[in-house]
């Protein structure tokens, strides 16, 4: 259990919360608005947080609920996207690995919101299927299905089923993703 004051612990999760907001909204301004709302809500409702439980999951849940709730209110069918996600890393494609990372990010942005969210929660953030399902208010089977569909869609877009493509992509990209500070 963390011995940090919950409000100090909250601050340690902000970089991940912003990454989640950017991946969900794909728009910097919207992501930052969502962040502010989520931080304010979490801070003022800290007494409702159960010490010893997963604060990151709690914060992600607040943010995603805000996101879907405000999107419903605005009745927006088409997201206001500024490619915040795919613009973030690459300044200029300077080698194969970086080019392929851009391809990956562009492909990732083409996924439906719920599929992108599922992959970020399970694939990138390391939440279990059960935790991710609880955060999204769906059954564990639904979460598994979303993750599988998202992977299948990426596989199609990036043509990963083609052996040669996967071999090429693998060797070039592993040089990028194999950085020592990358969480395993």
């Amino acid at each position: 259990m963390s011995e940090l004051d919950p409000k100090d612990e909250l601050v340690t999760h902000l970089p991940a919360l912003r990454a989640f907001a950017l991946s969900l909204t794909r728009n910097r301004a919207t992501a930052d608005d969502m962040m502010q709302d989520a931080v304010l809500k979490a801070w003022t409702n800290m007494d409702k947080f159960q010490p010893g439980t997963n604060m990151r999951a709690w914060l992600f849940t607040i943010l995603r609920n805000n996101f879907y709730s405000s999107r419903r209110k605005l009745n927006r069918e088409v997201a206001d996207v500024d490619n915040a996600f795919s613009d973030t890393l690459s300044v200029k494609p300077d080698h194969d690995g970086r080019l392929q990372m851009m391809d990956f990010k562009v492909a990732f942005e083409q996924l439906a919101d719920e599929h992108r969210e599922a992959l970020i929660l399970v694939g990138a953030s390391g939440f279990s299927y059960d935790d991710a399902a609880e955060m999204c208010g769906v059954a564990t089977g639904t979460m598994k299905s979303r993750v599988n569909r998202a992977r299948a869609k990426l596989t199609t877009i990036l043509q990963l089923n083609d052996d040669e493509v996967l071999e090429l992509t693998d060797s070039a990209t592993m040089a990028v993703v194999g950085s020592p500070n990358l969480p395993s």
Partner: protein, 54 residues
């Protein structure tokens, strides 16, 4: 990650997850927007004020 019996599918899944982790890790390294830092300062100041009042 749930592993399948298909080594090729496992390889694809691993590739996707490793890329996702890299992308997410890069996003985490972004500078925190000034609005958030300012908001935290205001919230902390309010907390201090409440403590003093008590």
């Amino acid at each position: 990650m749930a592993r399948t019996e298909d080594p090729k599918q496992d390889k694809i899944d691993r590739y996707i997850d490793q890329n996702l982790k890299k992308v997410f890790s890069d996003l985490e390294g972004d500078d925190m927007p000034t609005e958030i830092i300012d908001l935290l300062l205001v919230l902390r100041a309010q907390d201090e004020e409440l403590k003093t009042e008590k």
